[in-house]
C-alpha cells in the first residue's frame, strides 16, 4: 500500500536563523537552508552543530524536521523543534535570529506515503508531533484522511495542537496530569481512534516506549504502524554505528541497523523492541561476539 518516495542526498550548509519561537517547553527554529529544504520529506531529520567553532561538544544534535518551505516568501527554510535537556540543546535554545547554524540534512528515510488515498491516525508524543505536521499535509494532498492523537506529560510539553487542528480538524489531546485535553496517554485513545476512522495505517513519533506501545496496538488492529525513532546518534550520516536498533529484515533475519540511515522511520512490527539495549543471540553476527579463543593470541 505504500511507495518509497525518491530520497535526495544530504548537504552540509551554514544557514542564518530566520526565526526562533518559544512554544511551551520547546523552541522552534526556522533556518535559511535551501539545500536541506530542497530534498526534505516528512520523517527526515537534520543534524545541527552546537557550541560554536571550537566547541568542546564534538557531536551534532539531531532533530526531526517539522517542515520546509521551498518556494514563496520564506524560500529555502527548514523548521525543527528543540527541547533543552543537555548542554548542547541549552546552547541551541539560546541562539537568536540572525545567528548562523551549521546544518547537515535532510537525513534518514522519510515516512512512506500511501500510493492511494487511505485513512491514517498520526500519534505524537511530546514534540514528536513536529514531523507529523508535515506528514499530515502530504497525506491530505494525496487525498487521505488524517486524525491526530497528541499526548504529553503536561500541557507545556504538548506541541503542534493548534497546527494540527488547523490542518485536519480531528485532534484528540491527552496529558498525563490532565492539564490539557483528556487525562491519560496517547495509547489510551489510539484503539478508539483507529476504530472510529477505520484506519489503515498509524504514523507515530515520540519516546521509544510510546512507539513500542503504538506498534502493539496497530498490530492488534491488524494494521501497519510507521514509527520515527529518536535514538542517540554521533554522526547522523551512517558512519559511526552508534545508533543501531535490532530490526527484523525482509529476509526474516534480524540485524543491528542504523537508525539514522536505515531509519529513523521503521515499520514498528519489524523493530524488536524488547531487545533494544540488548544483544539477542539470534542477531546476524551475534555469535561472532563470543568466539571461542576470542582475545587469546
Amino acid at each position: 500500500m505504500t511507495s518509497e518516495p525518491e530520497v535526495v542526498g544530504p548537504v552540509q550548509e551554514r544557514g542564518e536563523i530566520f526565526d526562533v519561537q518559544r512554544v511551551g517547553a520547546y523552541t522552534q527554529f526556522t533556518v535559511v537552508a535551501p539545500g536541506v529544504a530542497a530534498g526534505f520529506r516528512p520523517g527526515q531529520f537534520v543534524a545541527v552543530a552546537v557550541g560554536g567553532e571550537n566547541s568542546a561538544m564534538v557531536l551534532r544534535r539531531a532533530f526531526a524536521l517539522s517542515g520546509a518551505t521551498r518556494g514563496g516568501a520564506f524560500a529555502g527554510t527548514v523548521q525543527f523543534v528543540v527541547a533543552a535537556h543537555g548542554p548542547g540543546t541549552r546552547w541551541l535554545v539560546q541562539r537568536s535570529a540572525g545567528e548562523m547554524l551549521d546544518l547537515v540534512g535532510p537525513l534518514g528515510n522519510p515516512f512512506p506515503l500511501p500510493s492511494a488515498p487511505t485513512r491514517a491516525v498520526l500519534v505524537g508524543g511530546g514534540y514528536g508531533s513536529a514531523p507529523l505536521l508535515a506528514l499530515a499535509s502530504a497525506l491530505l494532498e494525496g487525498g487521505s484522511s488524517v486524525e491526530f492523537v497528541l499526548g504529553a506529560a503536561t500541557a507545556a510539553r504538548l506541541f503542534g495542537e493548534l497546527a494540527a487542528r488547523r490542518a485536519v480538524g480531528s485532534v484528540t489531546v491527552l496529558t498525563e496530569d490532565g492539564t490539557a485535553g483528556e487525562r491519560g496517554r496517547v495509547t489510551d485513545a489510539l484503539p478508539g481512534a483507529i476504530e472510529r476512522v477505520g484506519a489503515e495505517v498509524v504514523y507515530a513519533c515520540g519516546p521509544m516506549a510510546m512507539l513500542r506501545a503504538v506498534g502493539e496496538i496497530a498490530s492488534e488492529a491488524a494494521i501497519t504502524a510507521q514509527v520515527a525513532v529518536e535514538e542517540s546518534m554521533a554522526c547522523g550520516i551512517g558512519v559511526c554505528m552508534t545508533c543501531v536498533l535490532p530490526v527484523r529484515g525482509t529476509d526474516g533475519q534480524s540485524r543491528f541497523v542504523r537508525s539514522c540511515v536505515d531509519g529513523p522511520v521503521f515499520d514498528a512490527a519489524r523493530v524488536r523492541w524488547q531487545d533494544v539495549g540488548r544483544l539477542p543471540a539470534d542477531l546476524v553476527g551475534a555469535e561472532a561476539m563470543s568466539v571461542p579463543g576470542q582475545g587469546r593470541h
Binding site: G238, G277, G285, A288, R296
Partner: protein, 322 residues
C-alpha cells in the same frame, strides 16, 4: 603551493589526509559530501573474517572535547566487504587502506590472504589495539610478543607490494617497546593512535553509560597523547613512516602530527561533527605549510625533532596564537 604528496612506505598518495578507521565506514556515506578519491586515502572500518553484530547499545557517550564509543567492531565480514565495499571504493578511484582485526593470529592471516592480489588494496592497517573486544586485558598491542607475532604473520601472508601498518594503542607503559617489536617483526609503518580506554558513569542510572561498560575515547581530548606517541615512536624507530591520528580537527592539528613525525594523518571523530572535515583540513594544512615556508609535506615531517639551530622559523611567524 607546497607539494602535498607523501607516502607511507611505498604507498604513495597525492596528499597526506586520510580518513580514520571506524570513522568513515567504507567511504560511501562521506562521498555524499566530497569525492573520496580526492583524499590521500580511505582507511576502512576494521573488518573481521565473519559478519559481526557489535555490542548492545548504548554505544556512545559524548565527553569533553571527545566521545566514548563501544561499537565492538560491527561489520559485514571480509567476504561481503571485498564484494561490496572494496569494489565500490575501487570504482570511485579511492586509495584504500584496509583495516583488519582478528581474535587470534590465524584470523589476521586469513584476512590478509583474502586481500592478497586485490589491486584495490593500497595498504593494510593491522588493528591490534581495538579496546572494544571481550577480553580487553589481552589486546595484542599491549603485549610485545603478541604484537610481533601478529605483525610478523600478516607481513608474511600479505602481498609484498602492500605495506603493512601496525596500529598501536596508547594504553601501554612504553609505546616504543611495542613499536620496536612490530618493526622487528616486519611492520612497514605505524598507525598512531587507537582510542584510549575510558568509562562514563550515568548519574541517573547509577551505572556505566555504555552497554559495553568501557569504551574507546577519541576526539580532540586525546590529541596531546597522540602527538606524544607519534613523537616517541618517530624517535625510537626513525626509519618507519607513521600515519598519525587522534583528535585532528584542523589543518594546524594535522601539522602538529607531521612536525612530530607523521608522514600522513587520519581524520576520525571530527567527521562525525563535520562530514566535510577531511577536505577542509587538507586545505587548511596546505595553507599552513605555505605560511611557514615549507615547499613540501616531506620537508615538514619530523621537523620539530630538529635542534633549535637547524629549525628555521619564518621571520613573520608570531608566537603561537592562543
Amino acid at each position: 603551493m607546497a607539494d602535498m604528496s607523501t607516502s607511507l612506505a611505498w604507498f604513495r598518495m597525492p596528499n597526506p589526509v586520510l580518513t580514520a578507521s571506524g570513522c568513515a565506514a567504507a567511504g560511501r556515506e562521506l562521498h555524499q559530501f566530497f569525492d573520496v578519491a580526492q583524499l590521500g586515502g580511505v582507511v576502512t572500518k576494521s573488518v573481521m573474517s565473519r559478519p559481526r553484530s557489535g555490542r548492545a547499545t548504548p554505544r556512545m557517550a559524548e565527553t569533553p572535547s571527545g566521545m566514548l564509543n563501544s561499537i565492538g567492531l560491527q561489520g559485514p565480514g571480509i567476504e561481503a566487504f571485498i564484494d561490496n565495499d572494496l569494489a565500490w571504493l575501487a570504482k570511485q578511484g579511492a586509495r584504500t587502506v584496509v583495516s583488519i582485526a582478528g581474535g587470534h593470529t590465524d584470523e589476521y592471516v586469513e584476512l590478509t590472504r583474502r586481500l592478497r592480489g586485490n589491486p584495490a588494496v593500497y595498504a593494510i592497517e593491522v588493528n591490534i589495539s581495538c579496546p572494544n573486544v571481550e577480553n580487553r586485558g589481552q589486546v595484542f598491542a599491549c603485549d610485545v610478543v603478541a604484537s610481533s607475532r601478529v605483525i610478523g604473520a600478516v607481513r608474511r601472508a600479505a602481498d609484498p607490494a602492500v605495506p603493512v601498518l601496525a596500529k598501536l594503542s596508547p594504553d601501554v607503559t612504553d609505546i616504543t617497546l611495542i613499536a620496536r617489536a612490530c618493526a622487528d617483526a616486519g611492520a612497514d609503518g605505524f598507525s598512531l593512535i587507537n582510542t584510549l580506554l575510558g568509562m562514563v558513569i550515568d548519574t541517573d542510572t547509577l551505572a556505566p553509560a555504555l552497554g559495553g561498560g568501557t569504551g574507546g575515547l577519541s576526539g580532540p581530548a586525546i590529541r596531546p597523547v597522540a602527538v606524544r606517541c607519534v613523537w616517541q615512536v618517530k624517535q625510537a624507530v626513525p626509519h618507519l613512516p607513521i600515519l598519525g591520528m587522534g583528535g585532528i580537527r584542523s589543518g594546524l592539528d594535522a601539522l602538529q602530527f607531521i612536525l612530530a613525525g607523521a608522514s600522513a594523518v587520519s581524520v576520525g571523530t571530527a567527521v562525525f561533527g563535520d562530514p566535510s572535515a577531511p577536505m577542509r583540513i587538507l586545505a587548511e594544512l596546505e595553507q599552513a605549510l605555505d605560511e611557514r615556508g615549507f615547499a613540501s609535506v616531506a620537508d615538514a615531517i619530523g621537523y620539530a625533532h630538529r635542534p633549535p639551530a637547524e629549525r628555521l622559523v619564518p621571520a613573520a611567524a608570531a608566537p603561537a596564537a592562543r
